[in-house]
């Protein structure tokens, strides 16, 4: 597969959230607004690129039997770095995302890419794969964030354009599930159309 296709696959065809349905927990939890969706997406992208690169470099040194714990330690180290950086430079966003930053460790996208891609490929393709997947994840979070913010509080990136409250349900838990459900259905439909042609 050429590198362009490798990069682009994360956006629609193999989008981690909308097609593979990995990493649903942060998707539902942090997308109450567009800004926190992007923040979470970029933090995850950073961890994904770094861990993919690191794992691709050390893959020959790791004994096969203990590879999963090794991958998890590498990922946890990068998550700690992101956690501390965000606490220092973007304290407001860090407070909004809260417990979901350390929980990037158990985001199945990252371990999934390490196991299924970085462990078998060279460093550069792994970095490209990580970037594409990470940005695909960010894109899905952004769409969720924009939709939920628009319907839930009637604002776009924090700019309010209605008076009073929106449909509060979309900011709360049920809206997250329903919104993601319809989004996945939409992408399912699009992919089915593309495949049929």
């Amino acid at each position: 597969m050429n590198q362009r296709a490798n990069f682009l696959k994360g956006f629609l065809r193999e989008n981690p959230i909308l097609v593979l349905v990995l990493g649903t927990c942060p998707t539902l939890a942090v997308t109450t607004s567009a800004v926190s969706g992007i923040g979470m997406g970029l933090a995850t992208t950073f961890v994904l690129i770094c861990s993919n690169a690191a794992i691709a470099m050390i893959k020959d040194l790791i004994p096969d039997k203990v590879r999963i714990p090794c991958y998890i330690v590498v990922i946890a180290a990068f998550v700690t770095i992101v956690d501390l950086l965000m606490a220092a430079y973007t304290p407001a966003l860090h407070a909004t995302l809260g417990i979901f930053i350390p929980l990037i460790v158990v985001n199945c996208i990252i371990l999934g890419r390490a196991e299924s891609y970085a462990a078998k490929n060279a460093v550069l393709p792994s970095i490209i794969d990580g970037t594409g997947m990470g940005l695909g994840f960010t894109l899905a979070l952004l769409v969720m964030g924009v939709v939920r913010e628009l319907l839930g509080s009637g604002s776009f990136f924090g700019h309010k354009f209605i008076t009073g409250d929106g449909m509060l349900m979309f900011v709360l838990a049920p809206g997250a599930f329903i919104c993601l459900g319809f989004l996945i259905a939409l992408v399912n439909g699009i992919n089915r159309k593309l495949a049929g042609r």
């Binding site: 349905v21 990995l22 649903t24 927990c25 942060p26 539902l28 939890a29 999963i68 714990p69 998890i72 330690v73 946890a76 180290a77 998550v79 700690t80 956690d83 501390l84 809260g98 417990i99 350390p102 929980l103 460790v105 158990v106 985001n107 199945c108 371990l111 349900m169 709360l172 838990a173 049920p174 809206g175 997250a176 599930f177 329903i178 993601l180 459900g181 319809f182 996945i184 259905a185 939409l186 399912n188 439909g189 089915r192």
Partner: protein, 191 residues
């Protein structure tokens, strides 16, 4: 009384799956059949209680005295992974019947974010050991409650006629949304 409030809050008001959004992957993954949901529930309650107790003690007596609480994430996930492995080995030896029932779900539990999430929430809220253990058991029960309810609903959904694009995950998510809406009825019962 305080402990009863923790339990009610964790099971109904702030249900870990439906309002805190932790453990969605197993929630969607193993809820096709009631029996597998039951196995997963047992495993989660067991590992969650054990891992919360152990990580609490490690945090209290190792990380805090050494002034390295920023290593929490790394240490916790390692402890959880090791614990799951140990539980698996012990169960295999001591109770083959229970191992048969829970065996396949145990490795999945390592990457279940409820376990790490609860361990971190305990630290965030500065709980005492007794409260932490009650909190862990209650959250395990809350997870099981949501999972079993959802498995019951999904078994019926198999028989219904669903639009092509909504089949599978989308309709499950929408159903989970409706379930979550029902749980919002409990909001405000406990502060």
């Amino acid at each position: 009384m305080e402990y009863i409030l923790i339990i009610i809050s964790a099971v109904f008001v702030n249900n870990i799956v439906l309002t805190r959004f932790l453990g969605i992957c197993p929630f969607l993954g193993v809820s096709n059949k009631f029996s597998s949901a039951l196995g997963m529930s047992g495993g989660v309650i067991f590992v969650m209680t054990l891992s919360t107790t152990v990580t609490f003690l490690i945090n209290q007596y190792v990380l805090v005295p050494l002034k390295v609480p920023f290593l929490q994430t790394i240490i916790y996930i390692l402890v959880i992974a090791a614990l799951v492995q140990i539980v698996e080995i012990i169960l295999k030896k001591v109770s083959p019947a229970l191992y048969q029932a829970l065996g396949v779900y145990l490795p999945l539990i390592t990457t279940n974010c409820t376990i790490l999430g609860v361990a971190l929430l305990v630290v965030q809220n500065n709980m005492t050991l007794a409260k932490a253990i009650v909190f862990a058991v209650a959250n395990g029960a809350g997870f099981s409650f949501a999972l079993l309810l959802f498995a019951g609903v999904r078994e019926r959904m198999e028989l219904s006629d669903i639009p092509e694009a909504l089949k599978g995950v989308p309709i499950s998510l929408i159903t989970a949304g409706l379930l979550s809406m029902a749980f919002m009825g409990f909001a405000g019962v406990v502060k």
